[in-house]
């Protein structure tokens, strides 16, 4: 390979065409067919990737076109900071603060559960578990990731919620806490698998160096391996959280659906995706309610973009700087 590139550079001075050299039958270095094949392959890949980007752009455009008219009948400030969401009342109230707070609270609390357990499971799998144990646990966790969210929601609704209601003696088990637990189930596999990849990519030589200096396995994990994998672990956490904030079906089924700003763990909530999913079918096409739901979608989209930017900057910030 090196030889080939070397000779190519030597034989063909810049600017001269490849075809001229191809005249010699033994010279396979400058075959035109190869160049054409490369061009076809490269451009078809480019076109395919452009298509998906264009489609994404069109979705965004549609979201803006349908959402922005909202601000002709309600100000941005009243929309974002308004406490009351009564879109079908006369006159209607379009304030989504309660929905935003519902989304934020359920994401934060589910992260409180999912981050420690996801990261610790990843550490166990990559650093401690005997290979046989890891072979069993890893597919099990990946399977958890492939559970349809409606199944998790259903399980939460019929099994976890009644249990919560009995244990804590509360009026309803469909609340912020139950939703957080179910969402945590969904983000643990994401957090765990990405963190585990990050831990596994830490060179073995770091661990050996640490152990050879008389560090215990635990010291090696906490002082060398985890710090070296921090960028990947942070990315994992943020991607897990963005999965939780965008998740619709689970919160629709178990969060309780009350558009109030939660004051306690056991208050029912109505996160943004749940609101959009449950109301879109009934909102009159291109009516005020319809536009307000799209504006909610824009808000949600901004949140997930924020999470992704955070994930990217975190993976840069904590990159191994030595």
């Amino acid at each position: 390979m090196t030889y080939r590139e070397h000779t190519k550079g030597e034989m063909i001075p810049e600017g001269s065409s490849r075809g001229d050299r191809g005249a010699a039958p033994t010279d396979t270095l400058t075959g035109r067919g190869t160049a054409l094949g490369e061009w076809v392959a490269e451009s078809s890949l480019l076109i395919i990737s452009l298509i998906s980007i264009v489609v994404l752009g069109l979705i965004l455009l549609f979201l803006l076109m349908e959402g922005l008219p909202t601000f002709s009948f309600v100000s941005v400030k009243a929309f974002i900071l308004g406490h009351l969401w009564y879109p079908t009342d006369e006159p209607p109230d379009f304030g989504i603060l309660a929905l935003i707070m519902g989304s934020i609270s359920v994401t934060l609390i589910s992260s409180l559960i999912a981050v420690p357990s996801g990261v610790m499971t990843a550490i166990y799998l990559s650093e401690i578990a005997p290979p046989k144990m890891a072979e069993i646990l890893k597919p099990a966790i990946e399977l958890l990731a492939s559970l349809p969210s409606v199944v998790i929601g259903f399980f939460g609704m019929v099994a976890v919620a009644p249990l919560m209601q009995r244990i804590f003696d509360i009026p309803t088990g469909l609340n912020l806490f139950t939703a957080s637990i179910m969402l945590a189930f969904m983000s643990i596999p994401t957090i765990c698998t990405i963190s585990e990849d990050a831990l596994r990519s830490v060179p073995v030589t770091y661990r050996e160096a640490s152990m050879a200096l008389g560090a215990t396995p635990f010291e090696t994990i906490s002082k060398v391996t985890v710090p070296a994998a921090l960028s990947g672990i942070t990315t994992a956490i943020i991607l897990g959280m963005s999965r939780a904030i965008g998740e619709t079906m689970v919160v629709l089924m178990v969060a309780g659906g009350a558009a109030i700003i939660p004051g306690s763990l056991f208050d029912p909530i109505r996160p943004m995706p749940a609101s959009i999913a449950s109301e879109m079918g009934e909102a009159p096409f291109r009516g005020d309610h319809y536009h307000a739901l799209f504006a909610t979608g824009i808000t949600l989209f901004l949140f997930t973009i924020l999470f992704n930017i955070l994930a990217m900057s975190a993976s840069r910030r904590f990159r191994l700087k030595g």
Binding site: T205, T216, L320, G322
Partner: protein, 255 residues
């Protein structure tokens, strides 16, 4: 080997298995205190595996099993009850590829002290300076101690790894081809360093480079196919090898 030099560590019929594969066959080899012993032999001859048995680094590779004994201070360190953590503090190791942690130069050298419970800052700072001086790196890094270690050149990184190993004041320093990834000038610095360090430390070095073994070691052991073929004073082994395999190897007929 002369008799007045004390043996600090020795192996007795040491065999090592990776699963079903036997990597070492009944190796009995003494190591003299404050001397440099070189382990030479072709790739795969077991010299690195042997070296890693001396501070139980093979424990970290799953599926390894050893038989025989490694006697250090009258104790068989292969026994289960041995605390490998304190063993490795006393028998340090430098690896083939420089492997500084992605931390600052200072934190790299201080690492071994911190995990061994030395928290007093001035003691740590003094040891870091002393170790970097011993590793002949102090002058080059004293103004950038808190800069990333990965910004150093390969040769500097390897001397940093040596400083890091010296900081915990081991009695024996195991070196697994410490210069094989370095350029000739950096290699020369490492070799000079080894000659200085043997005043204080027992050094066991695995090397592919026979000139290097000839330059730095007092004793040389030749390994072939997992067996110890010949051991003797470096001078004698390179000039009048007893076994035919040794002669073939040092004259470059195979390897």
């Amino acid at each position: 080997m002369t008799n007045e030099i004390e043996t600090i560590i020795h192996t007795q019929d040491l065999s090592l298995f990776y699963g079903d594969f036997q990597a070492l066959h009944d190796i009995s080899l003494p190591f003299a205190q404050r001397q440099v012993t070189a382990l030479i032999g072709p790739s795969g001859c077991g010299k690195s595996s042997f070296l890693r048995s001396l501070n139980r680094m093979n424990d970290l590779t799953s599926g390894t099993r050893s038989e025989g004994a490694v006697i250090f201070e009258g104790t068989n360190i292969l026994e289960k009850k041995i605390d490998v953590v304190s063993l490795r503090r006393r028998i340090g190791m430098v690896f083939q590829k420089p492997n500084p942690f992605p931390k600052s130069i200072y934190d790299n050298v201080a690492y071994g002290l911190v995990v061994n419970g030395i928290k007093n800052r001035s003691i740590v700072a003094a040891r870091v300076e002393k170790s970097l001086k011993q590793a002949a790196l102090w002058e080059e890094v004293k103004d950038r101690l808190h800069k990333p270690a990965l910004g150093l050149s390969g040769g500097q990184q390897q001397r940093l790894c040596i400083a890091r190993a010296l900081a915990v004041e081991p009695e024996i320093l195991l070196m697994d081809e410490p210069a094989s990834a370095l350029d000739p000038i950096a290699t020369q610095k490492i070799e000079e360093l080894i000659l200085e360090l043997k005043e204080r430390y027992t050094i066991i070095i695995v090397t592919h480079n026979m000139q290097q073994a000839a330059r730095v070691s007092n004793t040389t052991a030749f390994f072939y196919m997992g067996r110890l073929v010949e051991v003797g004073s470096t001078n004698a082994l390179f000039t009048k090898p007893v076994k035919k395999e040794t002669e073939d190897y040092i004259t470059g007929r195979f390897g």
